[in-house]
């Protein structure tokens, strides 16, 4: 099965086209095709991950042209890991989405699923590609579908989406400009080939411009503080299923691209010693952790609180990347996985609350603990994981980040991680208190509020359980996959 790398995105692309043709015949066909496409792509990713663990990386030459001439796809430990995470979380959210979309935007069912598949295809394309320009093309597929999906939420959604479009297009254009500088300096677009030719050009100012532009672009896409301005509005006005799909994976894929640029294209030596961009990312991330946590405490809207918490959690990943030592990078990668599960679970919980009660005000969640026991159990597990209480998964990624900071001798980062856990505890315990300790007043929560239908409850609970399972099996994940990824740093 040497075709695995290309099958991951192409399956998703193909299902999007079939949805476009078949969805107009019967509406539910769109949902079925999307689910089948997503699951197939997950199976291919998992097979790819297995192949990588047991036999090393897979390289695939599109069109049969040997790389630098043609476009290359590469499935190594890092990309196989990421594509498995993205397709798994994506498929679970797709399973969840049907009832939620039927309630919120029923008349736009078919194009929504086509775009959701294109979004996933774009994201997996970014992950498996080994070509700088091909990455841009798939970045734009993912971004365009995200703008459109986010625009159909409530009244203010188009404005938030437009702001995201402008900032996202700046990011895309900066990226192309950076690739242009790289291309004219090295003559190549293939990542491995560029990396091979870069060491001779380490003194070049054009490479400085290329690296700066590319990292600003990816920082914008990743919503790394202070480039996060598009995120809170976009996340809080979009339909709940869309936020559930985009929030856990899209910013993580941008973080992956940052790691890919750091490890594969520019090489650690350049970004640490010649042009120290990585420490800059680390310090901005440390500021972003505080900013996100403090803003989250100030929010009264549950989904907006989650959005700001996303900024803070993304900054954790940025901090791990900025540390640029093996422990820090393991922490960042583990946090990508854990946060994808936690945030997906939390946004699905938010969707469940909206499905049953129609609102998200934290002050009006009182008493839901008894009315929606399963949803709130999943919420509790994820919230504890976000705070970093073992054995939930969040603890272990923060642990590795702490170890990385200690290794780097950076005590400010250590203090940041510890303090921000306290801040996270503040905003989540406030919600937990409302949910479990307060008694519901009749006028705030509908009497019939209960757990949502099985198709929505199952993915929520599964993701919540996943947070625990990931926490318990973190040792296995680190030793079998992530250790291989950070090998080049040692």
């Amino acid at each position: 099965m040497s075709h695995l790398p290309v099958l991951i995105p192409v399956t998703l692309l193909f299902s999007a086209f079939i949805i476009l043709l078949g969805g107009f015949l019967k509406r539910d066909l769109a949902f079925m095709i999307a689910l089948i496409g997503g699951s197939l792509s997950f199976v291919f990713s998992a097979l790819g991950l297995w192949a990588v663990i047991s036999g090393g990386g897979l390289r695939y030459h599109l069109g049969g042209w040997v790389p630098p001439v043609g476009i290359e796809y590469a499935l190594d430990a890092l990309s196989a890991f990421m594509s498995t995470v993205v397709t798994l979380v994506g498929t679970l959210v797709l399973l969840y989405s049907r009832r939620s979309i039927l309630q919120e935007v029923p008349e736009r069912f078919v194009p929504m699923y086509a775009l959701a598949m294109l979004l996933l295809a774009g994201l997996t394309g970014i992950i498996v590609t080994a070509d700088l320009f091909n990455l841009f093309v798939f970045l734009e597929i993912a971004s365009l579908s995200a703008y459109a999906l986010m625009a159909v939420g409530d009244e203010r959604a188009p404005v938030a989406s437009f702001r995201y479009l402008i900032l996202g297009s700046i990011a895309g254009s900066f990226y192309v400009l950076g690739v242009g500088f790289l291309y004219f300096s090295t003559g190549s677009l293939n990542m491995a080939d560029v990396a091979q030719r870069l060491p001779n050009l380490y003194g070049s100012r054009a490479i400085v411009a290329a690296a700066t532009l590319i990292f600003i672009a990816l920082g914008l896409k990743m919503a790394l503080f202070p480039l996060h301005l598009w995120l809170p509005d976009a996340y809080s006005y979009a339909p709940s299923a869309v936020t559930g799909l985009i929030a856990p994976i899209m910013t993580k894929v941008a973080a992956y691209a940052v790691i890919r640029m750091f490890l594969t294209v520019f090489q650690p030596h350049y970004l640490l010693d010649v042009l120290p961009l990585m420490p800059v990312i680390g310090w901005f991330a440390a500021a972003g952790i505080f900013y996100g946590s403090i803003m989250a405490i100030a929010q009264t809207d549950f989904r907006r609180m989650l959005a700001y918490s996303s900024i803070s959690q993304i900054a954790y990943i940025g901090l791990g990347i900025g540390l640029a030592n093996p422990m820090g990078l393991i922490g960042a990668l583990l946090h990508i996985l854990n946060h994808a599960f936690m945030k997906a679970c939390l946004f699905l919980v938010a969707g469940n609350i909206r499905f049953r009660t129609g609102q998200w005000e934290v002050s009006r969640l009182a008493g839901l603990g008894r009315k929606m026991p399963w949803t709130m159990a999943a919420f509790t597990v994820s919230a504890l994981s976000m705070i970093g209480i073992p054995p939930a998964a969040g603890f272990f990624s923060k642990w590795y980040l702490l170890l990385g900071s200690v290794d780097a001798g950076n005590w400010i980062f250590v203090a940041t991680i510890l303090l921000s856990s306290l801040l996270t505890a503040v905003y989540f315990f406030r919600v937990l208190e409302q949910v479990y300790m307060r008694h519901s007043q009749e006028e705030t929560v509908p009497v019939n509020a209960a757990d949502p239908p099985a198709s929505m409850l199952f993915p929520t609970v599964l993701l919540g359980a996943g947070v625990l399972v990931l926490g318990l099996s973190n040792n296995l994940i680190v030793s079998s996959i992530l250790d291989v990824v950070v090998m080049s740093l040692k």
Binding site: V6, L20, Y60, G63
Partner: protein, 144 residues
């Protein structure tokens, strides 16, 4: 706003021009092998011919001849042509999009690539044609 011009000159000229525009678009698509041209450019010209008809003859009339649904189908068929041209070589032992493995008997690898490019450009032309008509229809649509 549009379509109600009832001007015989505008109507006659656009009816007269459209076939030429479309023939020229086909020429541009197929001439992509030998000079400037190709699927994108040809697709845009095809879409322009449809837009000219919509502007001059009015949407009520024109929607019957080239409906928005047909535009969507054209775009989806175009992308499927491209995707199938990519997937077929997989079954015949090649890599994705390796036109040399297209199952057309009696041609050398270079000729297969030549025809593969033509197939792909046709698909691209259909997609651009359909999509630009969709964009036009939805952006010009009156308020709900």
């Amino acid at each position: 706003m549009r379509g109600s011009l009832e001007n015989v000159v505008v109507e006659g000229v656009s009816r007269f021009l459209v076939p030429f525009i479309q023939i020229f678009a086909l020429y541009v698509i197929t001439h992509g092998h030998y000079g400037p041209g190709g699927g994108f450019q040809g697709g845009v010209i095809l879409a322009a011919s449809i837009m000219l008809l919509r502007l001059s003859l009015g949407e009520e009339y024109e929607h019957r001849r080239f409906s928005p649904t047909l535009a969507t189908v054209v775009a989806a068929v175009g992308i499927l042509i491209y995707a199938v041209a990519g997937l077929l070589p997989l079954a015949w032992g090649g890599n994705f999009l390796d036109y040399a493995y297209l199952p057309i008997p009696g041609l050398s690898a270079a000729e297969l690539r030549y025809h593969g490019i033509l197939i792909v450009e046709t698909g691209v032309g259909l997609v651009v044609w359909g999509t630009l008509v969709i964009l036009f229809d939805h952006l010009m649509g009156s308020e709900p």
